[in-house]
Amino acid sequence: MQNNLKKLTKRNETYIALVVLALCLLIEVRSGQFFTANNLVDIASAMVVPGLFAVGTFMVIVSGGIDVSFPALASLTSYATTKMLLDAGYTGGMWLPILISLAMGALLGAFNGVFIGLLGLPAMIVTLGSSSVFKGVMQGALGSVQLAVIPPGMRAFGTSALFTATNPVSGLTSRMPVGFLALIAVLLIAFFIMRYTFFGRGIYAIGGNETSAHRAGFNTKRTKFLLYVFVGMVASLAGLIRTCMMQQNHPTNMLGMEMNIIAGVVLGGTAISGGAGSLTGCMLGTLLIVIVENSMILIGIPTIWKSVFVGALIIIGTGVSAYQVTRAHRIKSSRRLGGEVKA
């Protein structure tokens, strides 16, 4: 028991969980509204899309890469899917939109994967470029405009609820979207991949030391390529679910989300240099960002100040971990500088 407790104090997730808890309590004390059923459901609902994006971002960062193209990718695939089905007068269920989205997401992910995985170009440069390409295709070639109507199957998916929570005092109700199940499913798949497949262990290995990974027998090129394909699929699913939940497709309103998502993942203890991090931490970091984004209004902070708080959180959160890294490094290097008698 004591041993387990000691282990917990060494884990980054423990601290981020404590910060989340402290923030929740602060909001509860100030507003008395945080731990109400409908607010909790609202936060769970708000977690769905950022949570999905975070899973993909997490996997990419663990591999030592970075992806800033996922909002553009999700916008393009969700817009193309919705528009295509509208034009075709599709009235069926949700399975076809999901399949089309995943296929397009895999294709666009493969676009990133070819350059980053197979050709070995820097991920930051490639995804900055592909982000621009995806936006350009959507706005230029597809001539995107806001789609105020979406196919009935997608609408039904977006409005159906697992259950509805009611606030006993105010009488406000919140629906738990079916899309939450998608987040759970993707989390389970990602957990299985990262923990129980050699593909996933390869992602960690590549993030730790790519040359060693190659020498150990990992096919590093294929691993990175498939990783970006998978991440493209997850991002496109997130885009589709967002469209369903909003009951409309706005081609540009996901753009710019990448920084908050990356920040959440890094806040959750994923090493920006790759190789280390856990899905639990990644979800906690994302939850922290979501709570700040959604609940500041409950303690009377005007929404215009929201971005200041999110920004401060990012600087403090990542700054503290960066400081720990440099301090550890300094201790190590001064030990090394000290040297010992070498033979």
């Binding site: 497949t197 050699f198 020498r215 150990a216 000290g338 010992e340 033979a343």
Partner: protein, 494 residues
């Protein structure tokens, strides 16, 4: 020797017209500990890469276990039982010891799904082979260099290894850790596993190996029993040059001290350090891990300012709180890790040479003068005999000894009075080491004051006129190097 495990016969290899190996042969018996020595560029690594299948030989053949093989691929080498432990160990710092040990064999079995129980079993068997005690759940990044090396050795042993090639395995190890490594090598020998030990350190060659092979410029110089070797012969075989081990004596000492340190202290590192250094002198400072010797070098150069005591430059109290202040006071530092602290490796040799005196290369409009730069670079390359076809090449193309010359040349271009060197010849081969010593002695004769901080005792004794021994941050002894012996210094250090 009829029953050799590995015989490489008359191996030839060229790279783009450069003859890297000119008919080299190597013979290793089962269970033998064989040392392969040679300076940088002698063809050691090329030979290892041919044996392990990374390169294909242009001529000659390899016999393993009596069978003649025309060519070896990396997979063949592993199947034959040849394992290479690289200098960087090829470990994953972010994964646990267990995973580092088990990954390779699981991957070579083409497994797709991870079975953590089986991984643990594999890892337990691996560490049991050499009785290596380690926490299997610890991250490899938290281990010491020596432990990482043991992880790499355990991993290599899992493939029914019969020959383990260790590429300069002792470079980053302490004396104690080297002893532990030698213990493991002897254990392997008892199990009939041969070791090819690549090193250019004389004492190690004597201590561990039964036979040795020395290469120079791609040719086999000599192979034989270690017991027939002595240190003069070793240096001669390695370099083809004879060295006179002359003791440095301080001549024409300056009148007043260039630098005087009074009761200098830095909490947690050293305290009450006082010494004087006059022009023409080489002062040696030596001590163990926790002696504070490296921190002292940093304090003298202003990287970590001392928090008590004074530094007097030519009799004047001077505050040295930044490297700029130190350079201004005429002090230069050649850091211990020249690769990460002293050089811009990817930049050109020329840029590295002039970086410290860049202000002086401006014309009267304060604009950088490229002609001045070219002249200055040429002068320094010639003066320090830096072996490069073109000073515009990246600094990382140079050998360790030549890189160290660049660091020296950089400082000497600034007309300093005092040069502090921390471990000036760590990782430098014998020939360059002698050259660097010659340069330092020459500088002292010209009136510079030099401080060598080193734990290489023969180096300290031979090159310094005085030696200060540090222990736990304090000066325990100051002696005239002419009368100092390794034993005397060691007994003060411990």
């Amino acid at each position: 020797m009829a029953d050799s495990l590995l015989r490489a016969v008359d191996i030839q290899k060229s790279f783009a017209g450069v003859h890297a190996l000119k008919g080299v042969s190597l013979d290793i018996a089962p269970g033998e500990i064989h040392c392969l020595a040679g300076e940088n560029g002698s063809g050691k690594s090329t030979l290892i890469k041919i044996i392990s299948g990374v390169y294909q030989a242009d001529g000659g053949h390899i016999e393993f276990d009596g069978k003649t093989l025309s060519k070896i691929t990396p997979i063949d080498a592993i199947l034959l039982g040849i394992q290479v432990i690289y200098q960087d160990f090829s470990v994953f710092p972010n994964l646990t010891v267990m995973e580092n040990l088990a990954l390779n064999s699981e991957l070579s079995d083409k497994r797709k799904i991870v079975n953590w129980q089986r991984m643990r079993q594999i890892a337990e068997e691996a560490v049991a082979k050499i009785n290596f005690k380690v926490d299997l759940d610890a991250l490899v990044g938290t281990l010491t260099v020596a432990q990482k090396q043991m992880v790499a050795i355990c991993r290599a042993l899992m493939f029914n290894a019969r020959l383990i090639i260790m590429d300069e395995p002792t470079t980053a190890l302490t004396r104690k850790e080297v002893q532990a490594l030698f213990g493991v090598i002897l254990q392997l020998k008892a199990q009939g596993i041969s070791t090819l030990f690549v090193s250019h350190k004389l004492n190690e060659v004597f201590e561990i190996s039964e036979r040795f092979t020395i290469l120079r410029n791609g040719e086999l110089v000599v192979t034989g029993h270690t017991r027939d070797l002595d240190s003069a012969k070793f240096s001669y075989y390695m370099t083809g040059r004879e060295f006179s081990d002359e003791q440095f004596r301080a001549e024409n000492l300056g009148e007043a001290p260039l630098i005087e340190v009074k009761n200098l202290g830095l909490s947690g590192a050293f305290e009450d350090i006082s010494f004087q250094l006059r022009g023409g002198e080489i002062l040696g400072i030596t001590g163990l891990l926790d002696s504070g010797r490296s921190e002292l070098s940093l304090a003298l150069f202003g990287i970590r300012e001392a928090d008590s005591g004074d530094i007097l430059i030519k009799g004047k109290k001077t505050r040295i709180n930044t490297p700029q202040a130190a350079i201004g006071a005429g002090i230069g530092l050649v850091p211990e890790d020249r690769l990460s602290e002293g050089l811009f490796l990817p930049r050109s040799i020329a840029d590295n040479l002039i970086i410290a005196e860049i202000d002086r290369l401006a014309n009267r409009f304060k604009v950088f003068d490229h002609r001045k730069r070219t002249r200055e670079v040429q002068r320094l390359v010639e003066e320090f005999a830096i072996a490069t076809p073109n000073p515009q090449n990246a600094c990382q193309t140079l050998s360790g000894g030549n890189q160290q010359r660049v660091v020296l040349a950089k400082w000497l271009a600034c007309n300093l009075d005092v040069l502090v060197l921390n471990g000036p010849t760590v990782g430098v081969d014998i020939g360059s080491k002698h050259d660097i010593h010659r340069i330092l002695q020459g500088l002292a004769r010209e009136g510079m004051g030099i401080i060598i901080i080193s734990d290489d005792l023969p180096e300290v004794i031979r090159n310094c006129s005085r030696v200060i021994v540090l222990k736990s941050g304090r000066i325990v002894q100051e002696m005239d190097a002419a009368f100092a012996t390794e034993q005397a210094i060691l007994s003060q250090m411990m």
